[in-house]
């Protein structure tokens, strides 16, 4: 039996799945100050009357980190950067306390200026003086040569043993230094609280005599063992929308192109599944004002929901972005889209006479009947959603590309399905689908699709290898692993084999070794390095991944 629990903004949902069927669900209100109690409350409801030894897997998705950061409750972190030549570091827009030190590394990982150790000492002293206990250190191209970041860390720890230091190359090894620095800062800021939370969760679950492995869902729809996740706290951000998308993947036929529409009270989250693969944002996630390297689904949040405020402007209506609800038909103060849908019989909840009253009031402002007013509200909502969905597909089509084949192969695609999940305004789904010429799908378990998604998601993993045979070393972007390369003529096949070996090792370190076989090569390039008229070496780039997908135990829904 599989258990999935999703802590959402309003409710915490749990499901119990047995042999590909959802056999039990629960919903409890989310209390952001007591997340552990919510999780356990939802869990207890589904595991009652179940033999705990039959539980094979527990997966959680949580808003903990999202809220910590949004509410500014994360621990304060200062940043020491070694920017080297290039942009003026003052214009890099890194927030918070930033100290700049001298030294430089270039794009191939060569030291072009030694680290100014004295400046590091002074920066550390100044930060200690200001009360900082957490520091992130980041050097431009630090992922291609860790030595300066390691030296910075060593100096800070030697002079201030009470501090903890996070290094940029450990947060991510992808190009984009400001994002790497910001990701390292978030990691340092969230780590302690996340560790505490993870330990409490593990303890609470073990108290219930559940011995099954516990996983946490990441923003890219993959799961990670709870124990390993302590090293990757920020990757658990935005796991809510990831859970819904994975739920849709589980509940629709495989290999199809779908828009996931999760309509909540005040916002609607949109995500895309292209040919059965959830679309990942090409750049990392934006967390508040921070641009990061965190891998996440490309989710678009639209300020429209069942509780949005409805305003009459002349003869037209506008919706949102603020909240008016709960809906009038559910005892709220003002007309909302939910009232309009109720009156048009698109949804079943609510009191029809209250809905009529709300729409009649709106109709008076618009100079039309209650029914016409309701139609205008629904039309406006559909219009907004259609526009946003179109924009998402366009944005995907317009993603920059750097290779001839990428430009040639990208075609225009539009959704086969519009899939509604979440509790609320599912009545809009068929209307949106009709306008897009797609099929509207509302899965049977739409209300708990998020928890189902968490329960059946498999681990994800990426590995980006860069080998520089002229300099004789390779680096792995994800965690900054480096190693030696002796063969100057290392070929593409050998580089891919190396990448495969490294991803297996990485999977084992992450506690997901059994999925390493799912890893596939996603890109592979060779650049001959020519100096003068002779080939002096090669740069090889290999990308591998275990993409978001479903565990083999899941056989329900549309899986064929």
């Amino acid at each position: 039996m599989l258990i999935g629990i999703d802590v959402g903004g309003t409710t915490t949902d749990a499901v119990l799945i047995d042999k590909g069927k959802t056999i039990k669900t629960s919903k409890v209100p989310t209390d952001h100050d007591h997340l552990l109690e919510c999780l356990m409350g939802a869990l207890d409801e589904v595991v009652r009357e179940v033999l705990t030894e039959e539980i094979e897997r527990v997966v959680l998705s949580t808003t903990l980190i999202t809220n910590l950061i949004a509410e500014g409750k994360a621990d304060p972190v200062a940043l020491i950067i070694e920017p080297g030549p290039g942009m003026n570091p003052e214009e890099s827009r890194l927030d918070g306390e930033v100290r700049i030190v001298g030294g430089a590394i270039d794009y191939r990982g060569r030291e072009i200026q030694p680290l100014d150790e004295d400046q590091v000492k002074k920066a550390a002293a100044a930060l200690a003086e200001r009360g900082y206990r957490r520091v992130a250190v980041a050097s431009k191209f630090g992922q291609r040569n860790h030595s300066h970041e390691e030296k910075m860390r060593e100096i800070v720890l030697r002079t201030h043993p009470e501090m903890t230091v996070e290094m940029g190359h450990r947060a991510s090894g992808r190009l984009n230094f400001p994002r790497r620095a910001a990701t390292a800062v978030l990691k340092a800021a969230a780590q302690e609280r996340y560790r505490k939370f993870a330990e409490e969760v593990a303890e609470a679950i073990s108290k219930r005599d559940i011995k099954a492995p516990i996983y946490i869902l990441k923003a890219d729809g993959g799961t990670l063992p709870l124990a390993t996740s302590i090293e990757h706290p920020v990757e658990t951000i935005f796991s809510g929308p990831a859970a819904s998308t994975m739920g849709v993947l589980a509940l629709t036929p495989p290999g199809q192109t779908s828009v996931v529409v999760d309509i909540g009270g005040t916002t609607t989250d949109l995500a895309l599944i292209l040919d059965g693969v959830p679309l990942i944002s090409s750049k990392g996630a934006r967390v508040d004002s921070h641009l990061t390297h965190i891998r996440a689904f490309a989710v678009k949040s639209v300020a429209l929901g069942g509780d949005s405020r409805v305003r009459a402007e002349g003869q037209t209506v506008t919706l949102g972005p603020d909240r008016a609800g709960p809906a009038f038909c559910l005892g709220g103060p003002q007309p909302t889209p939910t009232d309009a849908m109720k009156l048009l019989k698109l949804i079943s909840i609510g009191d029809i006479s209250l809905a009529e009253e709300a729409m009649a009031k709106l109709g008076r402002d618009l100079g039309c009947s209650a029914g016409e007013a309701a139609q205008k509200v629904v039309d406006a909502a559909v219009e907004i959603l259609i526009g946003e969905i179109d924009e998402m597909f366009l944005a995907w089509e317009e993603e920059p590309a750097y290779r001839v084949w990428e430009i040639l192969q990208k075609e225009r695609i539009r959704p086969q399905n519009v899939v509604g999940v979440g509790g609320g305004s599912l009545g809009l789904i068929p209307l949106v689908a009709e306008r897009l010429g797609a099929e509207g799908i509302i899965p049977e378990d739409a209300a708990v699709a998020n928890a189902i998604g968490a329960a059946v998601a498999r681990p994800t993993l990426t590995l980006s290898l860069r080998a520089d045979t002229e300099r004789g070393f390779y680096t792995v972007a994800e965690d900054g692993t480096t190693g030696e390369i002796r063969d100057k003529k290392l070929g593409q096949k050998e580089a891919e084999a190396l990448a495969k070996r490294l991803i297996v090792e990485r999977a084992e370190r992450m506690g997901i070794g059994e999925y390493a076989g799912e890893a596939e090569v996603t890109s592979s390039e060779v650049f001959n390095m020519v100096r003068g008229w002779a080939t002096t070496g090669r740069i090889l780039d290999v990308g591998m991944q275990i993409p978001a997908g479903l565990i083999p135990e899941w056989t329900g829904g549309g899986r064929g």
Binding site: P83, P85, G86, M87, N88, P89, E90, E91, S92, R93, A104, D106, Y107, R108, I112, Q113, K140, F141, L175, N176, F177, P178, R179, K283, L291, E397, E398, E399, P400, A401, Y402, R403, V404, W405, I407, L408, E525, F527, N528, M529, V530, G532, W533, T535, I539
Partner: protein, 460 residues
């Protein structure tokens, strides 16, 4: 020109297309290979330039064959001459041109390869790493689509922009200025001060040969004393930088002493509306820094921290002789510019009813030797540049030769030149001396290729 975006008072935004063509090379060890922009990619991505609110990254598209045919007589055909990579490089400039003309961006940089400024109107193959001329394709697209007339192209590549010069040589509305390492010391061996434009466009082509080893100071002097004052007077509606990066002190194919700071400053001073990458083959020691500097300068950001690892201010200076050489050239060209109207009148008078010149053109990359005779009608209508015909014969290797006859009717040609041009084209369809007959009528946006062997006509 002030962009419509600036006129609307919106914040600055620079449009950028980065298209390194990581899967395209002329040959595996050619300077124009996959690796060329690899380290540039590393540097500009690592800086996070694409995340800046002042920078908007666009996706390239393929140019249409018609966009190529608007500029070039491609032999044997557009399809045969260009690869997809060429269409994407040219198409990138068109994406940015549209964004610029619509006012979505303040200025733009097409950081794309393959390059184009050595490609002339007649294109038999690859010359100086170029098959088709990206800047010319963009300029003619903009002029046709958006109805602007006066354009200035400043070629800042170390090599003479002979292709762009040739395409616009008789066009009085296109000011072409190229500064470059003296043609007596570098490919393509042209770009001397006496190449000043066709009879009706004297002074609209300005060549500034510079002595080898000219540093930042020398080029900035030329800009300040000659280029900027001329631009001010010419009042172009669009300024294009044909932006080569091979004046750099580490470039392996040339001998100048320009730095990344020098390039950034140049772009700040020139303030081009659209810059298009041309050459530059110091792929590690120059390009990452030069491109970073140009992007920052065009985005209006501080570039003072951009520097090559081995550079320090004052590293290169000018000798007295070099200084005298450059000031002499500048003074001479100032004179030409000031006297351009008289010189034009004299040249037209001297030319008679048709201006004719013969050209020998060598395609270094493809080893083609071409002979051309160009003939331009000296139309009595002062505002009409006159239609032009080109007779071309190209020898490839042993025994094989391609001959063609092309008729070109400029965008702002008068009615009778348009008609005469059309008649010339029709008349030559039966001329068995040529394999191919070409026609360009920019006014009607009508481009044709007739094969005298196959007796069929292709309309682009």
């Amino acid at each position: 020109m002030r962009s419509s975006r600036e006129q609307k008072g919106e914040p600055r935004k620079m449009g950028l297309i980065f298209f390194p063509a990581f899967d395209w090379a002329i040959t595996p060890t050619h300077p124009e290979r996959e690796e060329r922009l690899l380290y540039t990619r590393d540097q500009i991505f690592e800086e996070g330039l694409m995340d800046l609110p002042e920078v908007e990254e666009y996706k390239p598209r393929l140019a249409e064959h018609k966009d190529i045919a608007r500029v070039h007589f491609c032999i044997p055909s557009v399809e045969a001459l260009v690869t997809e990579a060429h269409l994407i490089a040219a198409g990138s400039t068109l994406v940015l041109a549209d964004a610029y003309m619509k006012g979505d961006i303040t200025n733009a940089f097409a950081l794309v390869r393959p390059p184009g400024h050595h490609s002339m109107r007649v294109a038999h193959g690859n010359r100086g790493f170029c098959n088709v001329n990206n800047e010319a394709i963009m300029v003619e697209y903009i002029r046709k689509k958006y109805g602007i007339r006066r354009v200035a192209i400043i070629d800042t590549d170390v090599h003479h922009g002979d292709g762009t010069q040739e395409i616009f040589y008789h066009d009085p509305d296109v000011l072409f200025i190229s500064f470059h390492q003296d043609g007596r010391t570098l490919y393509p061996g042209s770009g001397f001060v006496d190449e000043q434009g066709g009879p009706k466009a004297i002074g609209r082509t300005i060549n500034i040969p510079l002595p080898p080893e000219t540093p930042d100071e020398g080029i900035h002097y030329v800009l300040e004393e000659l280029v900027l004052p001329i631009l001010k007077e010419f009042r172009p509606q669009l300024v294009v930088n044909s932006a080569g990066q091979d004046n750099h002190y580490t470039d392996p194919l040339a001998n100048m002493r320009f730095s990344a700071q020098g390039y950034a400053r140049l772009n700040e001073m020139l303030a081009p509306d659209i810059a298009v990458l041309e050459g530059g083959y110091a792929i590690e020691t120059a390009l990452p820094y030069v491109n970073c500097g140009i992007i920052l300068a065009m985005a209006g950001l501080d570039y003072s921290n951009v520097r090559e690892p081995d550079y320090h201010p004052g590293r290169f200076s000018m000798s007295r002789t070099m200084e005298a050489n450059i000031t002499g050239t500048v003074e001479y060209l100032q004179g030409i510019w000031e006297a351009r109207e008289e010189l034009t009148a004299k040249a037209v008078e001297r030319a008679g009813p048709f201006f004719r010149r013969r050209k020998d053109i060598f395609y270094d990359t493809d080893g083609i030797r071409e002979r051309q005779t160009e003939s331009v009608k000296m139309c009595p209508d002062k505002g009409c540049p006159g239609y032009m015909t080109i007779d071309t014969d190209a020898a490839r290797g042993y025994g094989h030769s391609d001959s063609g006859f092309g008729v070109f009717v400029p965008l702002f040609a008068c009615k009778s030149c348009r008609e005469e041009g059309r008649e010339e084209y029709e008349a030559h369809k039966t001329d068995s001396r040529y394999n191919y007959i070409f026609f360009q009528d920019k006014n009607r946006d009508d481009y044709r290729l007739y094969s005298t062997r196959m007796h069929n006509e292709r309309v682009y």
